[in-house]
Symmetry: C2
Subunit: 335 residues, 2 copies
């Protein structure tokens, strides 16, 4: 039985293990510093399809199948797939999952989706109702640019605060066993909205949500930041990272020594011209499923906080003058 701890956290009793992961990424991610940790690097971002959306769905489908395969399982062994993406009506996931014949919970947490899917996957296992769950998240640079910003063909200039949507899907198979790495504690995010309205400055919109959930996590479990080897946020980028560190310092916690951000890790920003870093659901999903899972598995890190961060907005909400609401989901993973 899970225990509800403090204000908004859960401690898991069972040994919820991440038994395998998979990561499929696009060409640009494949030129980045984490390239050797990804399972598949596309040579063509259309992925053999005739639209960016279909390319994303095929990435999602292939990544889920690969994670299942790497766990020496078949799709028919999996009780649930929990996954999501950024496309309207979550179509990246829908058409990715369609052919798999696995019960499906679609989730939407914007770029925090990997945190949401892994949280719910852990809870499904803890409840006793599942043996194997696949959790995932996808995004695609071109389908996201087209939908959220400008048609690709315009070649619109990107402002310095903008981030680069990662192309890929990260997937993780969860089950109960003694091998680990284990998902031990979950702190689930509330929506935090400090009124940012610039859709090209997502880092600023998400940093307050990341600060809020980290503060609550430390409070709920009476832990200090140095308990963890790494505190890994999703896609705050350069601007958001600095804001987060400052916001938490004001609340009495210094994470400057062990904080990393997937958006900063996945690209070499200057060489790859990504401005503030990577973003999108796939940013935290593939960075975790690739490099960080590997480091946990081989015990280079033993205790990690994983905090995918999301900016909840749509082009319609921005056009109607709504601010960009932030959310973040926090998982403590230990090997």
């Amino acid at each position: 039985m899970a225990k509800h701890i403090g204000k908004q956290s859960i401690e898991l009793e069972k040994n919820i293990s991440i038994i395998s992961t998979s990561s499929i990424v696009g060409t640009k991610e494949g030129e980045g510093p984490l390239r050797e940790y990804f399972d598949v690097i596309l040579t063509d971002n259309l992925n053999g399809q005739d639209s960016w959306e279909k390319a994303e769905s095929k990435i999602a489908s292939d990544s889920i199948k690969l994670a299942i395969n790497k766990a020496n399982l078949n799709p028919s062994d999996i009780n649930y797939v929990v996954t999501g993406d950024l496309l309207n009506q979550c179509c990246g996931s829908t058409f990715g999952v369609r052919g798999l014949n696995i019960p499906f919970f679609g989730v939407f947490g914007a770029c925090s989706t990997m945190g949401e899917s892994m949280s719910l996957g852990s809870i499904l296992l803890e409840s006793g109702g599942a043996k194997y769950v696949v959790c995932g998240a996808s995004s695609h640079f071109a389908s996201a640019e087209k939908q959220f910003r400008f048609p690709m063909d315009l070649g619109t200039q990107r402002p310095p605060t903008s981030t680069w949507t990662v192309t890929g899907q990260g997937s993780a198979v969860l089950s109960i066993n003694d091998n680990g790495p284990f998902i031990k504690r979950i702190t689930t995010g509330k929506i935090v909205d400090l009124g940012i309205t610039d859709a090209n400055n997502m880092g600023a919109a998400m940093a307050p949500a990341a600060a809020d959930i980290l503060y609550q996590h430390f409070q709920d479990f009476s832990l200090k930041p140095d308990y963890y080897d790494v505190i890994l946020t999703g896609d705050l980028g350069e601007v958001g990272k600095n804001l987060l560190i400052d916001l938490l310092k004001n609340k009495g916690y210094d994470i400057s020594k062990n904080h990393k951000d997937c958006g900063i890790e996945i690209f070499e920003n200057k060489r790859q011209d990504t401005h503030c870093g990577g973003s999108g659901c796939a940013c935290s999903a593939v960075t975790f499923a690739g490099y960080f899972y590997n480091q946990l598995k081989y015990k280079k890190f033993k205790k990690m906080l994983f905090i995918p961060t999301g900016a909840l907005m749509s082009p319609t909400s921005v056009q109607q003058g709504e601010s960009i609401a932030g959310i973040a989901h926090c998982l403590a993973i230990e090997s």
Copy 2:
């Protein structure tokens, strides 16, 4: 501990009670046959806002607060809100939940969302990690027409197979106690896609998914349709209802005597000119939260299967020639 039963079902061990519900609906739903069971009927579908999307978010927010209030609780008592909608990037829910200060899991199951949110809410309680969970789903006729079909101002003629998106949000507070009605069994849907491409014939796209999940539910629990007083699907409408009954007859199950469909119940189709019936996430959500919850609470029905049905598609996926994938989530509720 929940038990995994058969191929894709869960039996819940704890007494997962639906302790309160709330339903807020638009003007047209307030003129329909279930009007006396809704908590709030809007007099203005803009709901005092300056856009249809903001109107939907305010409905969502008010319905969640009302359900919490009807359970004699405060928002700070609630551990999780699990809710979703049809708008791009689920913005109906995001801006509805934003002010509530409750940990949030956003879900997307198209019009099956109420089934998904109630399934995950039950599992959160069963896991031990929560005491109170609010589950919900919203849609709005005008925000959906504008997004999925044509601008409202065009007054485009609707084909006979089309359905009418319900304006509203239904919410339910779940907790563990002995009062009921209880969520006893859950069968989680897979995506079923028989190749329907007509976005004005959602009933045909969803009926195969409903047939698939009902067949699996009866098989997993060795139950016959007459075990239930009512078998209530989400929004198949007139066309989908007949298809579902035929599909299940071919698989050896006759549900013609006790099948009802929220899409048919919520409007008086001829008088209200809704063609095939109601649809949208709110269709099953408010019909359940209003009339059917009342009937369970007062034991007019004792055993009910609730099967919200969803058509997974976006305008982009339809334009790119994708078919409309169906999904349905099945919950057995007993008083």
